[in-house]
Subunit: 311 residues, 2 copies
Amino acid sequence: METRSGDFYPTRLERPVENVERIDPVIHSTGKDRQKGPLSEAELASYERDGFLVFNNFLDQATVQKFREDLRAYEDDESILQSEGTITEPGKQEIRSIFGIHELSERFDRLTRDPKILDMVHQLLGSDVYIHQSRINFKPGFHGKGFDWHSDFETWHSEDGMPRMRSVSFSIALTDNTPFNGPLMLVPGSHKTFIPCVGRTPEDNYQSSLKKQELGVPSDKDLNRMIEQGGIKAPTGPAGSLIIFECNTLHASNANMSPWPRSNLFFVYNSVENQLEQPFCGNKPRPDFLGNRTNTEALRPVTETDMRRTG
Amino acid sequence: METRSGDFYPTRLERPVENVERIDPVIHSTGKDRQKGPLSEAELASYERDGFLVFNNFLDQATVQKFREDLRAYEDDESILQSEGTITEPGKQEIRSIFGIHELSERFDRLTRDPKILDMVHQLLGSDVYIHQSRINFKPGFHGKGFDWHSDFETWHSEDGMPRMRSVSFSIALTDNTPFNGPLMLVPGSHKTFIPCVGRTPEDNYQSSLKKQELGVPSDKDLNRMIEQGGIKAPTGPAGSLIIFECNTLHASNANMSPWPRSNLFFVYNSVENQLEQPFCGNKPRPDFLGNRTNTEALRPVTETDMRRTG
């Protein structure tokens, strides 16, 4: 098998290869660092077993409202509309996603450095961390498309050169998650297996994969086995709920067939000890707004003064 | 407005027109006929209010299993595979739907004439009845597509010439309905309003509409109002459950993103006093397997002897 030395998770090859047992821990802190909170041992055990954790009402409604207002204001902001990381509706000024939002929005930046969140992330990743990717998403009612089953790590490894499983995603709902507006679906326990996907990655694959992922989707056979083992969970809850999920947890979402839009904040922490290398698929790296390799110094928590200053 | 005289539910016009209040009763029997069962007054009131009723475990597992075996056996039956009403996977012998199945399968025919079912139908439609359409459906895991929101009556009226709202659909699950295998979604109360849809109907529209319905889909604005009023229900339950829904109840289904196939029996009763006329859209009628106009004599219940004979 023609793979790079030091590639513990080979994928995007021409022929199917065997699944790989995860070699990385799920929780990277140990001993006292693991025990010091804010996540309880029960929460850690649940994350270790399932690959995700859910907290309803993590953000209060006033904060949720401010983020929603920000999103609407961005639609009148030419510099944001022109940004490479902004994905709008074809022919419209309606924003679907803004990538790299932690660098554009002070409110978002502060949220990613909220001491409680950072402490959780340190507990999970066992080191200092930085933001690998961030975005704010808006899916309108009736027309939001779904996304096929995938592991984010499979893409970050092959297309961004993330060497090991030592990153974690935070998704905070800005709208209620109902069974009908295309909520996130996860496969409990799937993070323990790396499923190599078939097919060479074309250059600039991201330009189409942001709309519909064709590569990096496991075979029906592999998906079937994972879901028969672990089932499917689709956490529902009010705006403000937080879902933390491990970088290798299989997830998907169905189309939004309800009139209720679906909007969320999404940000990924990577360990500073897991910095991006050359992409393992052999292509040139994706742009920074998808896989940050520029601002990778350790994040420091916002201070009380920062918090008061801008609310 | 250029519509046919006696068309109480004009639709498929070039411009949007106002929604129409339903002029037909939801339950057509009255007095003693309404009271004689098998549906209780509470069940009738629920159907009248919501436009549907759900009975879990209506068919026992042995019967469900027989229907599933029949479906597999049809895949080796050339006369069924060649039938115009059989929809197979492109390039495969895997059956997606067999229309007109009550005329092909004795077991299905007997089910549609089950005395308990027929008594319910008589109670709902207030007259003798016949089968307007029947089919057995199979949607495989991962690849079953969804269906947009629509009222069946809107199509049966415009494309089949069904004059009034006096028909009812029975859907019996042959597989478990879960939140993830694309279950039927319904809008409670939507059956009380007729939503005209925009757009002239091309001849032979059914050839594409069986795959994806483009016409007969209400506007986002109308859907939004109906769903804000009534919400969305997606009954889940074990194989064997029955959903009875009124011909004008808005319904849809999302894609099947689970490994679990979804299979069901579907049959529509129409009142013998509501026989098909010329299609109100002005086209020639659809084939009999979609809108039966040949065998429209009153259905008679199967006898005990019939039941014993073929189990």
